[in-house]
Amino acid sequence: MAMVKGKKICRFCENNINYINYKDERILRRFTNERGKIIPRRITGNCARHQRKITNAIKRGRILAIIAFESESFR
């Protein structure tokens, strides 16, 4: 599963996106799971550079209450 996803191209590099807006909820939620945790790079297919930018944007978004630090799990 990890080997298959390793061949994926980073969607940000594909579209030449350099700035990730931390105020945009849709992009930030795409890279967090149901509990609000950041999804690792081996699953999303991001390159290292954009994964770092995403993590910084998610952390800023958490401070501004755009996304939650942690959400309750349904167990």
């Binding site: 700035y19 105020k23 992009i27 799971n33 699953i43 501004l64 209450a65």
Partner: protein, 191 residues
Amino acid sequence: MRTYETTFIINPQTDDVTIERHIGDVADVITKNNGKIVHEDKMGTRRLAYPIQGLTQGYYASFIFEAPSEVLPLLDRHYKLNEMYIRNLTVRFDGKLEEIIQQENPFVKPSVNKVVPAEKAVKVETKIETEKEEKTSHSHENTEEPTKETPVVEPLPEENQEKTEDTKENIEEKRESQETSETNYDEEDQL
């Protein structure tokens, strides 16, 4: 002179006049100290992801500005003294303004926006050819409104609307969520 970005949240349980006054006060702090506001974004009242000071909603606004570094402690002081500013964040701005103006409609495929007005324009043209001159004036007015509305996609739509739009993105999200749920189960079993 460096570019910075401040975002702040205002208590929404007041009049619109006081909210705009507080936004103007922040702009004054920047402009009175040799600053120049480059971009302004009022996102409006939004639901907070977690309660802050017992509130569940907040009015978001942000500025991108160029100013010397002496402005920053003045801004922090201004936020600290007034209780209406629930939260704030000042950050050095690394991106480009052109990307932001494009990203006001993020991950909305341009083909989607182009298809809808084109179809309506085609339909309108066929109607104009068939209808009389009196009806063409009304049809022009009716066509202009939807074409202006459809390309303007709100950057922060409601959750209900997100489920209906962008079906491909939903499929990708489901895949990712399924994968993450599987990984979570594996980690929890190991723990």
